[in-house]
């Protein structure tokens, strides 16, 4: 198997990306390329009802008429969409009854990644849905969640068990025709998490999904749907890694959040897909559509993201503030090093009265990378008393990197109060000198200063993630000084 050649051994050499190994596990794939048959194949594999197949096919036909967006400040060779596998699943003999029957190799992989899947090893309180290539491997803590009435399961299971909910909400925030990659995702999405929090329930634990691309030449197209009923509350974490390969892999996910009256959703991401090697070879193309809909009054959606991986990131987690008094938040740290290219930001669409939003974006570019913040704050005519605060700061480390800020502000209502500010600078020599003079090494000092620069955002992360993210910030910048 080709995958074996470039596996565990190489990890030792390149410490920077410690998730770069791949797992030698037999898998079942869809035929190479993308045709209507591929879509049918995926749908059949998942035993999907006819309406969903139709939904996928409609998206696929639409996709054929669309062209790739080119407005982002990223450059890459054209993607051959026919030279990829759109479905890959670890082969398993029979249906599983319990965790013990999961392929031990798989479990080992997740252990290496630091995700304790087995319940015994769980720290209290994080339920994990792990997605390996295209299928969800296991979902932990199911019973405890079920007691509270929370549904947390792989998307395919939700389609089978709760078709009415899926039918009602799927595509209601990100329609199949939304954009090139979202449409592609609608046609071929294979897995993802489904979360439903019933009325008035505070989800008893943090929910978490772990995504991993393992198979060579495969794309990952997961679709996550979170519905928070009236008065409910949930915090959701997402983490991603991929093996180190010298080809580019495509990740085109769609995340839809729906918050009804008084509901609150907090969505945190630590994205650490393989960023490519020192020469910029390989790495994941992370083209993701994430959108939250504050459909009910007094609802709140908060996005927090730490973006350290991927060769190219194209991602704009957004909030549609439809309900009166609803609130949207976006906290982001985007770190780029080496040859990475990041074009990320958010959209805050104010439709309802008294809606508020807050955007804090920290971009750090090092090496030869390019880091762009692109955001939109839009206030519609009927949205009274809107309040927005935007702050995007960029930090440049080294003279070969670049940082760009492209904020759009559109107002059609005079009662809106919108503020935007942005700065770009480098780490001051004084700060660096101060640290080094006290015996802190240069790299460590940079990590320390950067952590301080990102503090506003790091504070927003759930505890367990915050610690990891801080370390990640340091690791991502290794080799960027001197």
């Amino acid at each position: 198997m080709a995958a074996v050649r470039e596996t565990v051994e190489t990890v030792g050499e390149v410490e920077k990306y410690k998730y770069g190994f791949s797992t030698d596990i037999e898998s079942e794939k869809a035929p190479l390329g993308l045709t209507e048959d591929t879509v049918r194949f995926i749908s059949a594999k998942k035993n999907e009802p006819a309406w969903l197949l139709e939904w996928r096919l409609a998206a696929f036909r639409r996709w054929l008429t669309m062209t790739e967006p080119t407005w982002a400040k990223v450059t890459y060779p054209p993607i051959d969409f026919q030279d990829a596998y759109y479905y890959s699943a670890p082969k398993q003999q029979a249906k599983l009854d319990s965790l013990d029957q999961v392929d031990p190799k798989l479990l080992e992989t997740y252990e290496k990644l630091g995700i304790p899947l087995t319940e015994q090893k769980m720290l209290a309180g994080v339920a994990v849905d792990a997605v390996f290539d295209s299928v969800s491997v296991v979902t932990t803590f199911k019973e405890k969640l079920a007691e509270a009435g929370v549904i947390f399961c792989p998307m395919s299971e939700a389609v089978a068990k709760h078709p009415e909910l899926v039918k009602k909400y799927l595509g209601s925030v990100v329609p199949t025709s939304d954009n090139f990659y979202a449409t592609l995702n609608s046609a071929v999405f294979s897995e993802g998490s489904f979360v439903y929090i019933p009325e008035g329930v505070r989800c008893p634990m943090e929910l978490s999904t772990y995504f991993r691309i393992n198979e060579k030449q495969t794309g990952q197209f997961e679709r996550t749907l979170i519905i928070a009923e009236k008065g409910s509350c949930v915090s959701y974490l997402e983490g991603c890694t991929a093996p180190q390969r010298d080809e580019n892999q495509l990740h085109a996910a769609v995340v839809e959040l729906v918050a009804l009256d008084d509901a609150e959703i907090k969505y945190s991401t630590v994205q650490n897909w393989f960023p490519g090697d020192e020469e910029g070879k390989g790495g994941v193309y992370n083209f993701v559509t994430k959108r939250g809909d504050c459909r009910g009054a007094n609802s709140k959606i908060s996005w927090t993201q730490v973006e350290t991986g991927s060769a190219i990131t194209w991602k704009y987690p957004s909030c549609i503030l439809r309900g009166d008094n609803s609130r949207g938040e976006f906290y982001s740290i985007a770190i780029s090093n080496g040859h990475q290219q990041v074009d990320s930001g958010t959209k805050m669409i104010h439709l309802g009265r008294n809606t508020t939003s807050r955007i804090i974006s920290k971009g750090i570019s090092a090496g030869k990378s390019s880091n762009t913040y692109r955001g939109l704050v839009s206030v519609h005519r009927k949205a009274e008393n809107v309040r927005n605060f935007t702050q995007c700061d960029s930090l440049l480390i080294g003279s070969k990197c670049s940082a760009h800020t492209v904020p759009y502000v559109e107002t059609k209502n005079p009662t809106a109060v919108l503020e935007h500010e942005a700065t770009t600078s480098k780490i001051s020599d004084d700060q660096l000198f101060y640290c080094m003079q006290r015996g802190i090494g240069e790299e460590e000092a940079v990590a320390l200063i950067v952590n301080g620069f990102c503090r506003d955002v790091l504070q927003q992360l759930p505890m367990e993630f915050a610690v990891e993210a801080q370390k990640l910030v340091g690791i991502s910048l290794e080799g960027s000084v001197g």
Binding site: G398, S399, A403, H404, L418, A422, T424, S425
Partner: protein, 440 residues
Amino acid sequence: MNEVMTEKAAQNFIDAYESARTVLPGADGWLARRRAAAIEAFAGAGLPHRRLEEWKYTDLRQTLDKAGFAPAPEHKGAVVLPETASASAFSALDRHVLVFVNGRYRADLSKAARLPKGVELRGLADVLTEQWAKDLLERRFDEARQAEQVVDLNTALMSDGMCLRIRKGVKLDKPVHLLFFAADDGASHTRNLVLLEEGAEGTILESHVGEAASFADIVTDVVLGNGARLDHVKLQDESANAVHLATLRGEVGAEARLSSFTLTLGCGVSRGQSFIRFAGEGAEAQVNGAYALRATQHADQFCVVDHAVPRCASNTVFKGVLDGQSEGVFQGKVIVRPDAQKTDGRQMTQALLLSRDAAMNAKPELEIYADDVQCAHGSTVGELSKDALFYLRSRGIPEAEARRLLVLAFLDDVIALAPHEEAREILRGLVSGWFEEASI
């Protein structure tokens, strides 16, 4: 259907070029070839429209299609300026004055006598044989070529303009005032050329007035030599049926300083674009402006400052007051090229919405490829502060008066950035007058 519609205005310009080709200035020389190439490029690209990112908020193609401007006729004989404050704005100042009617220079109405030695001030047709004018006309000002489309149109059809050359070390004794008056309906294309050689200094005042349904297409190319200094104050107060398209392209040499200020009060649709590029270290550029709009007016300010070399400073501040159903646009970009270390780039846009139906779109961009720089931008939109209003009213100031004070104060700190002291006072008076007429 749509395609046919969109080509209408562009076709009008192409036809205008064909019929005027032989009588345009420079028809027998190198410029004829340059014009032919420009009109060909323009025909290929057409007029800019919303699908182009730089024109996202202003659809020039649609505007001009709807208005259907024919070429403005040459106006001969006496001219009566409207009795507005804007029309007589700079008349009290001691100045050289050049009058353009329907975009054409009128020597009989102008007064620019006894210029200091080393200052040349002439019409476009008179300088075409000179190398410096040729250099300016063929210079590529913005590498991104963002202005190209509309500049091509201007190059093909430019019929007149002011050409100012100030020789090394010479200071212009008093401001040059360019008074553009639209007496009749129609389109005019003006090209101004400004060359300030090393250490030269000068001030240009520019006013655009008229009650006609006119389309003014003005391109001003400025080259400042090392240590040169140019102050530029522009006032635009044309009629509600008028469309104004002004492009300022500047190249600023080492230690030179360009300071430009625009007050926009008139026109149904106006677009003012500035493309400033630093060519030498230690230079400075100020590109500022204020606008006050009402009814269905639409004003778009577009500004790109290109820090191509190290140690330059730029500052851009635009503030606007929007009443009625008016719409304001600010699009700015600061580019810091690799190696342009020690750059200081600042950008600020603020808008005050006075009515329920007014709208504002802002897009201040930073594009930075060097690390040792200080760059910042800010953008705010809002209505008059209720607290401030209450404060004033609680001290016995009637609401209308309180609003006036606050609006004028809001605009005052950007007008303070206008370079010429007496001109600054005149602009203050105009803004205050605008407010008297407004029904707010």
